[in-house]
């Protein structure tokens, strides 16, 4: 099935009343959580995962795609109107968006953010439609050595891109990998690190860990932080239309942001956040009007396009290789796994309804989000007034019930609370918890691939260097690790004069 035929089939799936409803719900929930500071798309998807047990997997995937895209749209609203980024990928939008708002151009900033998000979302979905099947076809040639290297290099790149200390990120990766070895080992059935508890034989599920590290710890951090009163700026519908000059200045950044976002999305790590930073830096360097820092529209258009486009890019490795490169994609993968579907190169041929249905729903959802985020922007912005004493207990309730419902096990509740406390401590000490979660998800696959590679290659470690794809990936990983050190060394070299 080629991409056009696939998309045609996908629209017939996505336009069914139930799937349309789930797309709509996902877009609304995503916009709301994008607006609310604290609970991001990952935490929300983890909370709602238990609900997807009862749904068709296509509907579950459509719901989650809507949430992920919606969060990117919603995050800009409070960044522009209130100087409060709803979630991490909208932090950069605050820099220019709020300044525009103070200059009376809040409506224009919101419109440019929404239209930019729509254009970028559309570009990334088109790219996903064509790139994922091609990559999946290439991935059929992958052996265990390639899968091991992809995961290893993915983790290495992530440790470099999280922005904090490299040593801290590597420590988190090591901890996550260690947690991934708990449970019954698959070849000989040997029990590892279970301490005699049969309940640990299945290993540590990443969901209680993710819900604890992202959900519970977020609530604890919110409680521990001082709360500020917010004053909401009103925006009338007629004020939403940017001037002709503002449109002209925004178009280039939107297109550049779309491509920056999509390609950043292919790389492991918090891609929407990184994409916004790259886009902002590029636009600042290309600035001809000298308005950066005072409310430059390019600084809103570029990053807002980039964070949406990164979402489409992040779906490519999951749909084509079955490897999630971000914790949010790991939760999306869990939707498939709980329904007995293995994501990977065969997904497109074995479940075309799911693959193309989800992609088609992204087109529809993106259109829905444009409509929500322009005329209804004022309504959505008021959501930030929901008091914390209502919102946070509700989040905790969803965490506590949601995690129990995964395996109907109280151990999962204990694990979630334990990792919530650990996450609270780690985040206060500025440890990024995302590499831990990703290493926990990828760990078992890495061990399996490593052992298979060693058995097939008679223990020859050079197999990772003699297979072209594996060798190329290792070279990229080494470059990513070494380049910043070389750059630093070059800058610190003694001058000859």
């Amino acid at each position: 099935m080629n991409a056009f035929a696939g998309l045609w089939h996908g629209f017939s799936v996505a336009l069914s009343p139930l799937n349309l409803l789930f797309g709509f719900l996902g877009a609304v929930i995503g916009t709301v959580i994008g607006i609310l500071p604290g609970l991001g798309p990952l935490g929300t998807m983890a909370l709602l995962l238990s609900l997807t047990y009862g749904f068709d997997p296509v509907a579950g995937m459509i719901l989650f795609a809507g949430i992920y895209f919606g969060a990117m749209y919603g995050g800009s609203t409070t960044s522009i109107l209130l100087n409060i980024p709803g979630e991490a990928a909208s932090v950069v939008t605050v820099l220019e968006g709020y300044k525009m708002s103070r200059r009376g151009r809040a409506g224009a900033a919101l419109a440019v953010a929404a239209v930019g998000s729509f254009i970028a979302g559309s570009i990334s979905i088109v790219a996903l439609s064509f790139l994922a099947p091609t990559l999946a076809e290439a991935a059929l040639q992958f052996g265990p050595a390639e899968y091991f290297t992809v995961a290893l290099v993915g983790l290495v790149i992530m440790s470099r891109l999280t922005g904090g200390s490299l040593l801290k990120s590597l420590m988190m990766i090591a901890l996550g990998s260690a947690l991934g070895t708990v449970g019954m080992e698959t070849v000989a059935g040997y029990m590892r690190y279970t301490f005699g508890m049969s309940i640990l034989a299945q290993g540590i599920d990443f969901l209680p860990v993710a819900m604890g590290l992202f959900g519970i710890s977020e609530v604890l951090i919110t409680l521990a932080s001082p709360q500020e009163n917010v004053s909401l700026q009103q925006v009338r519908f007629r004020e939403l239309w940017p001037t002709r000059q503002e449109w002209r200045r925004s178009f280039g950044p939107m297109i550049r942001g779309s491509f920056i976002g999509f390609f950043t999305g292919l790389v492991p790590g918090p891609s929407p956040v990184i994409a916004t930073m790259i886009s902002y830096t590029v636009e600042r360097k290309l600035d001809k009007h000298g308005e950066f820092g005072q409310g430059a529209i390019e600084g809103v258009a570029g990053p807002e396009a980039a964070n949406n486009s990164a979402v489409g890019g992040a779906y490519v490795p999951l749909m084509a290789l079955g490897i999630p490169f971000t914790p949010a994609m790991a939760v999306v993968m869990a939707v498939l796994l709980i329904h007995g579907i293995s994501p990977g190169p065969m997904l497109i041929t074995e479940r075309p309804d799911l693959f193309w249905g989800v992609i088609a729903s992204m087109y529809i959802g993106n259109f829905m989000l444009l409509i929500f985020n322009l005329p209804l922007v004022g309504v959505f912005a008021k959501i930030i007034r929901i008091p914390l004493y209502l919102l946070m207990p509700l989040v905790l309730l969803l965490c506590l019930v949601g995690v129990y419902s995964i395996n109907n096990s109280i151990l999962d509740v204990w694990l979630m609370i334990g990792f919530g406390l650990l996450g609270y401590v780690m985040r206060r000490l500025e440890f990024d918890v995302a590499p831990l979660v990703l290493a926990l998800v990828l760990g078992p696959m890495m061990e399996r691939s490593f052992r298979e590679t060693m058995m097939i290659g008679q223990g020859d470690l050079t197999v990772f260097l003699t297979r072209p794809i594996s060798a190329t990936l290792l070279a990229v990983g080494t470059l990513v690790m070494v380049a910043p050190l070389l750059k630093k060394g070059w800058r610190q070299r003694p001058s000859r004069c």
């Binding site: 090591a174 260690a178 590892r192 019930v401 109280i410 000490l429 052992r451």
Partner: protein, 166 residues
Amino acid sequence: MKQKELLFALFVLLVAIIYEVMALRMPRGHITYPGPGFYPSLVGIFLLFTSGSFVLWTLLKGGAKAPALGSSEVDKVDSKTTHPGKTSLLIALLLFYVTTLNSLGFLLAISIFLILSIRIFGYRRWLPSLGITIAIVAISYFSFVVWLKVPLPQGILGDFVEGLLG
């Protein structure tokens, strides 16, 4: 901050030592046919290396400059930005919920949890808190237990609720 980081890294280092010792006691096989302990022993070495390096780095780079725990400098910063009392109360409440879930049952445990957590988050009036709690518990019970058939523990109210719902 540096001192807290150091304490955390020492904790991870301790975990790494225990992890590696346990890995070395597992059958490791041979590199041509790796056993169950082969990969964990590599992960253990990586964990030892990263946590050990972090401990050294913290000691060499910033440990000397870090203010001691309990010193006025640390306390001044923390008291401005955090509410440790409230956080501890919420943690205690979470532990209360998980330890009493089986005995009290979901309805009672979550009701106590919600009404107290609303208070911890700053809302002081009991009667509206009770109303909010009842509404949230009713919606969540029908969503999860009745609609999605999640078998949440019934506890001491099990017979009463079953009788009520027929």
